[in-house]
């Protein structure tokens, strides 16, 4: 459960989870929505994967992420979002840009 709390403590990762509610997205599409480096995004993806909140699947050269949250984890996300739960610094997500499939892992 510690991994889940750690994953949900960061606003960027919470925003990634919100984006994935629309359906599976490639790493490149997700990275496009944030003004951070690809390595930083990769680190965020790793934390989310480790917490079991997302699943990844390799399709050709792309890595596709999809949501896999239980009801309890969903409720925790809503709680964290409502109360601005933030334990560590993270860049704010920028407006969604045109989706481009990238090769960010």
């Amino acid at each position: 459960m510690n991994h889940v709390f750690r994953a949900l403590s960061d606003p960027t990762r919470r925003h990634v989870l919100e984006l994935l509610r629309r359906g599976p997205m490639t790493a490149g599409e997700l990275a496009e929505a944030f003004d951070v480096s690809k390595s930083t995004m990769s680190a965020h993806f790793a934390v989310l994967r480790e917490a079991g909140l997302v699943a990844s699947e390799k399709r050709g050269k792309q890595v596709v992420y999809e949501l896999q949250m239980s009801v309890l984890e969903d409720a925790l996300l809503a709680f964290a979002k409502a109360f601005g739960w933030r334990l560590e610094g993270a860049p704010r997500p920028k407006g969604r840009r045109v989706a481009r499939a990238g090769a960010v892992r």
């Binding site: 359906g23 599976p24 949501l67």
Partner: protein
């Protein structure tokens, strides 16, 4: 059990743990250790907890992927079903712990039938959504866990309907007749479910990697 993912394994342990709790209440009542009311409250709360355990894991395992549905609609459908089952479970546990027993039984029965209907309609609507191009579920190593939890969920929903009928129908003759029909419907439904899941998981000729994933 070794092929199950962590959430599926937790659900299986939760299911059998609660079944053991229900058996313990029944035995305790049989040997006169607890009153009839306490047995009823314990059994009702355990059924509510079963709903909670099953509902919590539904969106995590993406059960509708067994039908090949991968759209955002399918995700929303799983989320709706998961939340409906979880909230129904919480309310049922609360009713059997706090409300007068007669009122708790009636209210829980209505909630139970309502949530079974909601989940059925929800999955009929979203389970037929956009599919992967081949019409087969994309194998991702969680198929065995999904199939296991679908069987558990089917059993939980049957228990819920059976208990609801018992609580709602006062006439013993009609109740016995309905229980017999329900038992028949359970096995017919199970056979259909078994056949449907087997068809989905059958490997296709020329591509043995599709379907039948047990990891």
């Amino acid at each position: 059990m070794s092929g199950l993912t962590r959430p599926a394994r937790d659900a299986v342990f939760g299911f059998f743990g609660l079944a053991a709790v229900m058996a313990a209440f029944a035995m305790a009542r049989r040997f006169g250790a607890i009153s009839h009311d306490l047995e009823q409250r314990g059994m009702g709360a355990a059924v509510g907890a079963l709903l909670l355990v099953a509902g919590n894991v539904v969106p995590k395992l993406r059960l509708l992927k067994l039908t090949g549905a991968e759209s955002a609609g399918a995700l929303a459908g799983e989320r709706t079903a998961g939340w409906a089952l979880t909230i129904a479970g919480l309310v049922t546990v609360g009713l059997f712990l706090l409300a007068p027993l007669a009122a708790a039984r009636q209210a829980a029965a209505v909630i139970g039938m309502g949530v079974v209907l909601l989940v059925t309609l929800d999955w009929l609507a979203f389970g037929r959504g956009s599919r992967v191009p081949s019409g087969e579920p994309a194998p991702d190593g969680r198929t065995y866990s999904r199939v296991t939890v679908v069987h558990l969920l089917y059993a939980v929903l049957y228990v819920l309907v059976a208990v609801s009928v018992k609580y709602l129908v006062a006439d013993p003759g009609l109740r016995r007749e309905l229980e017999e029909w329900l038992w028949l419907a359970f096995w017919l439904g199970y056979a259909l479910l078994f056949a449907a899941l087997g068809r989905r998981r059958r490997p296709r000729r020329g591509n043995p990697n599709l379907g039948g994933t047990h990891a």
